[in-house]
C-alpha cells in the first residue's frame, strides 16, 4: 500500500506539466544562485588575500619610525570568507569585513556590503540560502497541498475506503512520495556543493562533517514542512483552501514572523546609536588614565606609584621611558573600558537572541535560519569572534610597540625611532572560527526546538486523523 501510493504519486508528479515546470525552475534557480555565489566568494577571497599581503607590506616597510607613530598609522584586520558561506551568506553582507587597529581606540568593522547596495537588495539576494529557506518550502507546498484533497475532489476517496486502506499507510505513502523529490534535490545540491568545495584549492578549512550537519538541518526543516502541508491537506475539504492555508503558514513563519521578531527584539532590547556608544566610552575614558596627558589625575597617581616602586624621585631616573610605560598602562585600561561596553552590547544581543529563540517555537524557519548561519560561519557570533580576536591582537600590538619604546628610550625622548626591521617581528593576525563541536553545543536550544517541531509535526499528521 505504502509503496504503491509512493509510485502512483511520483508518477503523478512527473506527468503534471505544472510540477515539471516548477521543478525545472527550482533547479535552474539553484544553478544560477550557486554560480553567482561562487563567483562572489572567489572575488571576495582574492581581494582578502591581496589586501592582507599589501597591508602587511605597508606595515613591514614603515622604515625607521617612532613606535607610537606606527601605532597611530595602525594596521587592518581583514575577515576571510569561509567555505560554507557558498551555501549560506548569513549576515555577512550586513557586517563590515575590515577593522582598523590603532592606538587608543577600538574600531568597529567597516564597510558592509549592504551599505553599498541599492534598496532593491533588501528584497533578498538570489543566493542558495534564499532558495533553500524560502523556495524549497514553497515547492513542498506546491507538490503536496492537494495530496489528500484531490482524493476527495476526484472521488477516489471512496475507492480507497472500499479497499480498506488505513490512513496511516496512505499518509506514509504520501509522505514518502512528497519528501522523495525534495530529498533528491537537496542531496544533489549538497553533494554538488561538497564536490565543488573540496576541489577548489583556496577554500580554506572545508569540512564534510559541517556540510553534512547543514544538510541534516535542512532535511529536518523540509520534513517539518512536509508534515505540516500534509496535515493541512488532510484536514481541508478543498484543494484551494488547503493551498491558501499552507501558504499562510509559509508567509507567517518565513516572512512575517522574522520581521516582526526583528522589530520586537529591537524595541525590547535596543542597541545604542553609534554616537551614544562612542559618548559612553568617552565618558569612561575621561575618568580613567589618559596615556598622552601627564596632567590627568590617574596619570599623576600612576607616576607617584612608579617613582615609589623604583625608589627614585624623577622620571628621568627610571630605567625605561615612562611616557611609553604610561601609554601602555592607559592602553590596557582603555581596552578594559571597551570590553565593558562591548560586553553590554553583547548582553543586549543575548537578550534579543532570546526573543528570536522564543519565536522559533512558532516558526521553524527561525531555528533553521540561525543553525544554518552558525554552521556556515556567517552568523553574528562568528563576527563577534572575529572582532574580539582583532581587539586582542590590537592590544597585543600596542604592548609590542610600547614595550619597544619603553625599553629603548629615555623619558621625554619622543624623537626615538625603532629599527626598520623591527616591524617584521610583529606576529600576523590570525583568527580561527569556532569548531563544529562548539557550534553544536552553542546552538543546543535551537537543535531542541527543531527536534520538537519535527516530532510534534509528525504527531500532528499521524495522530489527529484516524479515519480516511
Amino acid at each position: 500500500m505504502i509503496l504503491s501510493t509512493f509510485k502512483k504519486e511520483n508518477q503523478g508528479f512527473m506527468r503534471s506539466g505544472r510540477i515539471r515546470i516548477a521543478l525545472l525552475t527550482v533547479l535552474l534557480l539553484i544553478a544560477v544562485a550557486f554560480w553567482i555565489s561562487s563567483k562572489h566568494y572567489e572575488a571576495t577571497n582574492r581581494m582578502y588575500d591581496s589586501a592582507k599581503t599589501s597591508e602587511r607590506a605597508n606595515w613591514d616597510g614603515q622604515g625607521e619610525k617612532n613606535p607610537h607613530s606606527a601605532a597611530h598609522y595602525g594596521t587592518y584586520a581583514f575577515k576571510p570568507k569561509y567555505p560554507l558561506s557558498l551555501i549560506d551568506q548569513g549576515v555577512d553582507k550586513y557586517v563590515g569585513s575590515s577593522i582598523f587597529l590603532e592606538a587608543h581606540a577600538r574600531h568597529e568593522a567597516q564597510f558592509s556590503e549592504a551599505a553599498d547596495q541599492t534598496g532593491l537588495a533588501r528584497f533578498g539576494n538570489l543566493s542558495p540560502d534564499f532558495i533553500l529557506l524560502f523556495i524549497m518550502p514553497l515547492l513542498i507546498i506546491l507538490l503536496g497541498y492537494n495530496s489528500f484533497t484531490k482524493e476527495h475532489e476526484m472521488g477516489t476517496i471512496t475507492l480507497l475506503r472500499s479497499e480498506g486502506a488505513s490512513f496511516y499507510k496512505l499518509a506514509l505513502g504520501k509522505w514518502l512520495s512528497l519528501f522523495f523529490p525534495i530529498l533528491v534535490i537537496t542531496s544533489l545540491l549538497f553533494l554538488g556543493a561538497g564536490l565543488v568545495l573540496s576541489q577548489l584549492p583556496d577554500y580554506g578549512v572545508f569540512q564534510w562533517s559541517a556540510l553534512g550537519d547543514l544538510y541534516g538541518v535542512y532535511l529536518v526543516y523540509y520534513i517539518i514542512f512536509t508534515n505540516l502541508v500534509l496535515f493541512i491537506s488532510a484536514k481541508s475539504k478543498r484543494s484551494g483552501v488547503s493551498l491558501v492555508l499552507s501558504l499562510s503558514l509559509w508567509i507567517l513563519s518565513c516572512l512575517a514572523l522574522p520581521k516582526a521578531a526583528s522589530n520586537v527584539a529591537g524595541h525590547l532590547h535596543p542597541y545604542p546609536t553609534r554616537q551614544e556608544f562612542a559618548a559612553e566610552v568617552l565618558k569612561d575614558k575621561e575618568n580613567g588614565l589618559d596615556g598622552h596627558n601627564p596632567w590627568n589625575k590617574k596619570a599623576q597617581t600612576l607616576q607617584a606609584e612608579v617613582l615609589a616602586e623604583y625608589g627614585v624621585d624623577s622620571l628621568h631616573q627610571l630605567p625605561f621611558n615612562f611616557d611609553a610605560y604610561r601609554m601602555q598602562k592607559s592602553e590596557e585600561h582603555e581596552a578594559e573600558i571597551y570590553y565593558k561596553h562591548y560586553d553590554k552590547l553583547k548582553e543586549q544581543y543575548r537578550k534579543q537572541a532570546e526573543v528570536y529563540d522564543g519565536l522559533a517555537m512558532v516558526s521553524p524557519y527561525l531555528a533553521t535560519r540561525f543553525l544554518s548561519m552558525s554552521l556556515a560561519h556567517t552568523d553574528y557570533a562568528t563576527h563577534w569572534g572575529f572582532a574580539d580576536a582583532a581587539e586582542q591582537y590590537r592590544v597585543a600590538t600596542q604592548a609590542f610597540l610600547n614595550g619597544n619604546f619603553a625599553e629603548n628610550s629615555k623619558y621625554g625622548e619622543w624623537g626615538y625611532r625603532a629599527d626598520a626591521d623591527f616591524w617584521k617581528e610583529l606576529p600576523p593576525f590570525e583568527y580561527d572560527p569556532p569548531e563544529l563541536s562548539t557550534i553544536v553545543s552553542q546552538n543546543q536550544r535551537k537543535l531542541w526546538v527543531m527536534a520538537l517541531w519535527c516530532i510534534g509535526s509528525f504527531a500532528l499528521l499521524l495522530f489527529t486523523t484516524k479515519k480516511l
Binding site: R18, L29, I36, M47, Y48, S50, A51, S54, N58, Q62, V91, Y94, S97, S98, Q110, F111, S112, A114, A115, D116, Q117, T118, G119, L120, A121, R122, F123, G124, N125, L126, F134, I135, L138, N146, T149, R238, G240, L243, V244, S248, I251, L255, K259, A260, S262, N263, G266, H267, P272, T273, R274, Q275, E276, A279, N293, N296, L345, Y349, Q352, Y380
Partner: protein, 470 residues
C-alpha cells in the same frame, strides 16, 4: 443588473464575514507596521535632538574656556584640546550633520536602518572613512522590518489573492455557473463587476484602517495631506494591478486551486524573484569595487604622504598663498603638515571614492529603466522616496555631508595657516548644517502602475473574447 449585482455581492461578503475579517486583519497589520515605523522615526529624531543639545552644551563650555584663556587664566585642559587652536575646534567640537526625518518617514524604513541619523565630520578626519552605518544587530538587518511598506508590497497582494482567486471558479465548482450563464450579462462583464466591487470594498477598508491607525497614533495627516494622498493613490493603483491579474487568471485558468497556484506563482515572480534577479544583474553589470582594495590604496597613499610631508606642505602653501598672508611668524607644526597631506590624499583618492557612488548611481539608473518589470519594485521605490529613506535620499545626504565637511575645513584652515587663535567671536560664525531633502514625486510610479493595469485589463477584455467564443 449592475446595482443588483453590487447589492447582492456586498451582502454576501458581509454575511460570509469577509469584510469583517479583512477589516480586522488590515487594522492589526497596518497598526503594528505604523507603530514600528513611528518608534523608529522617534528614535531617529531623538538621537538628532540629543546630539544638538550636547553640541550646544559643549559650545557653551568652549566659550567659557576661550573666555578664561582670553583673560589670561590657566585652564585645566591638555594643550591640544584648548579651543584657541582652530584644529582643536575642528576635531573636538565638530558640528552635528543630521539627516532630518521626513513627515512620512514612518511608512518605509528603506535604507534608514543601515545608516546613522547624523555624523560629525572632523576637520582632519578622512572624509571617505566617515562611518555612516549604524550600530545595529546584523540579524535585524537580515530579517528586515515589519513596516507599512512590507504590509503593502508583500501582504496586501496576498490578501487580494485569498479574497478573490476563485470568484468565477467557485461558481463553476458549485454548479451555479449555469444559472449565471442564463442571465443577460456576459461572464466577463460579471467577473469584472464582481472584482470592481471587491476592489472598492478593500480600498475603503484600507483607507479606513489607515485613517483609524493614524488617528490612533496621533499622526498629523492633514498637515501632510498631499503626501498622504500620494500614498493612498500608490496603494490603490498597486491593488488595482493585483486585481487586474486576478481578473485575467479568473478568466483564463479555471479551477480554484489552479487559479490560486497561478496567482501565487505570479506573486513569487513579481515580489521575490524579479527584484532579486534585477539586483543581481545590477551588481554584475556595475560591480562595486572592493572596499578592501580601497583601504589598500588609501594606506599606500598615506604612507607615501607621511614620508614627504614637508614637501607636500611647501607645495600646498605655494598653491594656496591666501592661507598664510597674515602670518608673520611662519611657524609650522604638525597640523600644518598633516592638513596639507590630508588634502593631497583626499584629492588623489577622490576618483577611487567617487567610483562607489557612480556605480551605485548606475545600478539605480538600471533599476529605474527596468522597474516596470515588477510593480513591487515600483511601489517599494516610490514608498522609500516618499519616506525620504531611499538609496537616492541617502546618496543625496552623503553628498551634502561631504560638502559640509569641506565647508567646515575651509572655515578653519585660514586660521590654522595664519597661526591665528580661535576666539570667542568666532563661535557664532561657525557654519551650521541644514539638510536639504530631495523633492519626491510619485507621478512616474503611478503612471507605470496605471500603464500595467490598463495593459492587463486590455488583455482581459481583448483576448478572452476568443477563448469564450471557442
Amino acid at each position: 443588473m449592475f446595482s443588483y449585482n453590487l447589492k447582492y455581492e456586498l451582502k454576501l461578503l458581509w454575511r460570509s464575514r469577509w469584510i469583517q475579517l479583512l477589516g480586522v486583519l488590515l487594522l492589526v497589520l497596518i497598526g503594528f507596521a505604523v507603530y514600528n515605523g513611528q518608534v523608529k522615526t522617534d528614535q531617529w529624531e531623538n538621537s538628532i535632538q540629543t546630539a544638538q543639545q550636547t553640541l550646544k552644551a559643549s559650545d557653551a563650555a568652549m566659550v567659557k574656556v576661550l573666555d578664561s584663556v582670553e583673560q589670561g587664566l590657566e585652564v585645566s585642559l591638555a594643550p591640544w584640546l584648548v579651543p584657541t587652536s582652530p584644529m582643536a575646534v575642528g576635531n573636538v567640537h565638530p558640528r552635528v550633520v543630521a539627516k532630518d526625518a521626513q513627515p512620512l518617514s514612518y511608512i518605509a524604513t528603506g535604507q534608514s536602518d543601515l545608516f546613522t541619523p547624523y555624523v560629525s565630520p572632523k576637520a582632519t578626519g578622512d572624509d571617505f572613512a566617515i562611518e555612516f552605518t549604524e550600530m545595529t544587530s546584523p540579524v535585524q538587518l537580515l530579517f528586515g522590518n515589519f513596516d507599512l511598506a512590507f504590509v503593502i508590497i508583500y501582504l496586501l497582494p496576498l490578501l487580494i489573492i485569498a479574497f478573490s482567486y476563485h470568484v468565477l471558479s467557485a461558481e463553476k465548482e458549485r454548479g451555479s455557473l449555469r444559472i449565471l450563464m442564463a442571465q443577460p450579462i456576459s461572464i466577463r462583464q460579471w467577473v469584472f463587476q464582481k472584482l470592481t466591487l471587491r476592489f472598492l470594498v478593500l480600498s475603503v477598508l484600507v483607507i479606513v484602517a489607515f485613517v483609524a491607525v493614524a488617528l490612533g497614533f496621533g499622526l498629523d495627516v492633514w498637515a501632510n495631506a498631499p503626501s498622504f494622498f500620494i500614498l493612498i493613490a500608490l496603494v490603490l493603483t498597486y491593488m488595482l494591478f493585483w486585481f487586474a491579474l486576478v481578473f485575467l487568471v479568473n478568466l483564463w485558468v479555471g479551477q480554484s486551486a489552479r487559479n490560486a497556484i497561478s496567482l501565487l506563482g505570479l506573486w513569487i515572480f513579481f515580489v521575490l524573484l524579479v527584484p532579486s534577479i534585477l539586483n543581481q544583474i545590477g551588481s554584475v553589470l556595475y560591480p562595486m569595487p572592493s572596499r578592501t582594495q580601497m583601504i589598500g590604496q588609501m594606506r599606500s597613499l598615506k604612507a607615501e604622504a607621511t614620508e614627504k610631508q614637508d614637501e607636500i606642505l611647501d607645495n600646498f602653501l605655494r598653491d594656496h598663498p591666501e592661507y598664510a598672508v597674515n602670518d608673520s611668524t611662519q611657524k609650522r607644526n604638525f597640523y600644518h603638515r598633516y592638513v596639507a597631506s590630508q588634502q593631497l590624499i583626499r584629492s588623489e583618492l577622490e576618483p577611487v571614492v567617487n567610483r562607489y557612488t557612480e556605480q551605485l548611481q548606475k545600478q539605480q539608473d538600471l533599476l529605474g529603466n527596468f522597474k516596470w518589470l515588477s510593480p513591487a519594485i515600483v511601489v517599494q521605490q516610490a514608498l522609500n522616496r516618499l519616506a525620504g529613506n531611499s538609496t537616492a535620499d541617502f546618496l543625496n545626504y552623503k553628498f551634502q555631508v561631504m560638502g559640509f565637511s569641506e565647508t567646515w575645513r575651509n572655515h578653519l584652515m585660514p586660521l590654522l595657516y595664519n597661526n591665528q587663535d580661535f576666539s570667542q567671536e568666532d563661535v557664532p560664525k561657525l557654519p551650521v548644517f541644514q539638510y536639504q531633502p530631495l523633492s519626491s514625486s510619485a507621478t512616474s510610479a503611478l503612471l507605470v502602475l496605471l500603464g500595467l493595469v490598463v495593459l492587463l485589463f486590455g488583455l482581459g477584455f481583448g483576448f478572452t473574447k476568443r477563448i469564450w467564443a471557442s
